[in-house]
Symmetry: C2
Subunit: 379 residues, 2 copies
């Protein structure tokens, strides 16, 4: 088994003043052909980048939203309004609002503390400017903490997930779940990297992931950088691979998980889960606990983003369907918990996946390093 | 329900001398952006066109191969060699060898008859030239007969298939099965057109059909021309449509059907069949009886064409995956008969699909017009 090379990708970094304040994004719409960076100096530009998928993937959207709140605070914008806009920039990934709300809470707490501290001070204008800077710094510190937690979560997910990987596994994955969507090595892809390092990965099958080809463009790019043996396939070829006995395990990420274990993820995930069940192949989802939305009871409570039809009917600006043709282009689909063999989080593995095992995961906070953290192994 | 407009597409026509002999093909690789024609004046050009999918689809490949044999005969080529090359131009569609062999048999029979007739005649050179022309004409007549039979088969398939379509049906189809693959209105698409004319088609869902997008490019083109309400979707979005209860029926064509009812068709068909079963949606295959290969016992006897990886890893000449990435690109997959609700042919409907019902279809020859032609309605 070949050595696993470092992937070394930074999808987002914060730029301090005087060069900033700004959020610098690796433009994922241009990969793998070009490695270009987009500098977002205001929240409007950042939200547009989120909508255009310059930055994407559930964990990284949480990080991006938190930095966006810090950006608004440093700029002197209306911070609660900016946090609201960032949290709603796209409707399905719960991490956006989660990250925005945490950074907003840090900022609000700092503002309140500054107000208490500032009472009776001399120079009102200087005092207000200093207080605003300290509140912005609190938001930034929270964004940095989310980023660090995400990197730690990624490593923990990889460690837990590796327990599910047998010798010489042939793993199929969908969409992109690696360093491009995370401050660490990702979610599903972090497990794949761990399996490769452990000499247990015989081959990675990469679904191209239409319409925006995050599999072909991004996962294959990360797999190639890591030195992982892999092959790209059309999404519809996965079924015949499974029928031929060429897939031992399917692993994907998640954009939102309802309290009952329903998994919203990139369109195509649900079909893979049905096919995996039909062929007796385990279907595993990997995501940080922040992806679980305990306020969403089930699939019906998850809004699935409908994206522009041109993503399907044209390619790189060229029409591939007649102008009269309509398109159906949901960005996500929802897989019922019964089709999910296991959910791997930084706090352990839920197996089987249901409201009870998810609730137990959500109740855990920073488990001790090395502690046995399986939530459930009941069958 | 809107009026069904005439689609009016001719994927292939024969050009007589002196402009010919030639086979003129509508270049399906350029649709829908451009309607260009390729004139094949020799068998090598025609075989290259078949391999590049300038002409494609099981029934039309049978027609093209037969005309290719006539072309070889008119040119004075080695006709049996040309028939062999045409029959093997692509490995999965049995219609290629079926069409080539029928035209070759007509030519061989004419050659033998000419030899008997020519014994003792005066001018050997003139006699030989006339005999060759008459043998070529016999091959051409056979090609024209195959074409006419295909048009009649298409109409009969539409008539039989319509019996399976309920009121206000929402039908999902994969790849392209209309006038571009047939001398008539096609196979699955002929049924869809019949359903639209009968006011029973509420909506057509068009799988884009990666990697070559025959659904988005060709089926949507035919649907738009016919005035059928339709929407294009990525192949992987079909699962969520079924889960939402938006699909009443799936209909596809077939490239080869084994004697046990295993259906080889465009990659993605098998996954659709599994999904249809999971959601309780009928899965129907439409094909002329010539698509049934009674010499192939089952799925194992069907060779699945593997096509170049660049069809997946690049798009319109632009790379979409890193150069290091391998690709898995089967053109077809094979669906077991147990997943096929019904097979619609010009001789009637096999339902359920198994060796017995297929054998009965194969034994039928030109059933009387209007005769009850269900092969089996056993359950």
């Amino acid at each position: 088994m070949a050595h696993t090379r470092a992937v070394d990708i930074r999808p987002l970094r914060w730029l301090d003043p005087p060069a900033g304040p700004a959020v610098v994004l690796l433009d994922q719409t241009r990969l793998p052909a070009e490695e270009e960076y987009l500098t977002c100096r205001d929240v409007t530009t950042l939200i547009d980048a989120i909508r255009r998928l310059v930055v994407r993937g559930a964990p990284m959207l949480g990080v991006a939203a938190a930095y966006g709140v810090a950006l608004a605070a440093y700029r002197g914008d209306d911070v609660p309004a900016a946090a609201g806009l960032l949290g709603r920039a796209r409707p399905t990934a719960v991490n956006l609002s989660w990250g925005a709300e945490r950074a907003l809470a840090a900022w609000s707490g700092a503002v309140a503390a500054e107000e208490r501290r500032g009472e009776g001070a001399a120079d009102a204008a200087t005092r207000a400017a200093d207080a605003a800077t300290r509140a912005a710094a609190a938001a930034l510190a929270q964004a940095r903490e989310i980023e660090a937690q995400d990197a730690a979560a990624s490593a923990a997910i990889a460690g837990h997930g590796l327990r599910l990987i047998g010798e010489r596994s042939r793993i199929l994955t969908h969409c992109n779940t690696g360093a491009l969507v995370s401050a660490g090595e990702g979610t599903a892809f972090a497990i794949i990297l761990a399996a490769h390092r452990a000499g247990r990965l015989a081959r990675l099958w990469v679904d191209e992931t239409r319409p925006l080809l995050q599999g072909a463009r991004l996962t294959a790019y990360e797999a190639a950088r890591a030195g992982i043996p892999h092959a790209v396939l059309t999404d519809s070829a996965a079924a015949s691979l499974m029928a031929a006995g060429e897939v031992d395990l399917v692993i994907t990420g998640a954009d939102r998980i309802a309290a009952d274990g329903s998994v919203a993820n990139k369109v195509g995930t649900y079909g893979l889960a049905v096919l995996a069940r039909h062929h007796g192949v385990p279907f595993v989802v990997a995501a940080p606990v922040s992806t679980i939305d305990f306020t969403a009871a089930g699939a019906g409570a998850i809004q699935v983003e409908q994206r522009p039809g041109q993503e399907v009917t044209s390619f790189a600006g060229n029409a591939v369907a007649p102008p009269e043709s309509a398109a159906y282009n949901p960005a996500f689909d929802v897989t019922g918990a019964a089709l999910v063999t296991a959910l791997v989080t930084e706090h352990g593995i839920a197996q089987p996946v249901h409201a009870g095992t998810l609730h137990a995961l959500g109740a855990m906070r920073k488990p001790r390093e090395g502690a046995r953290s399986d939530v459930s192994v009941e069958r």
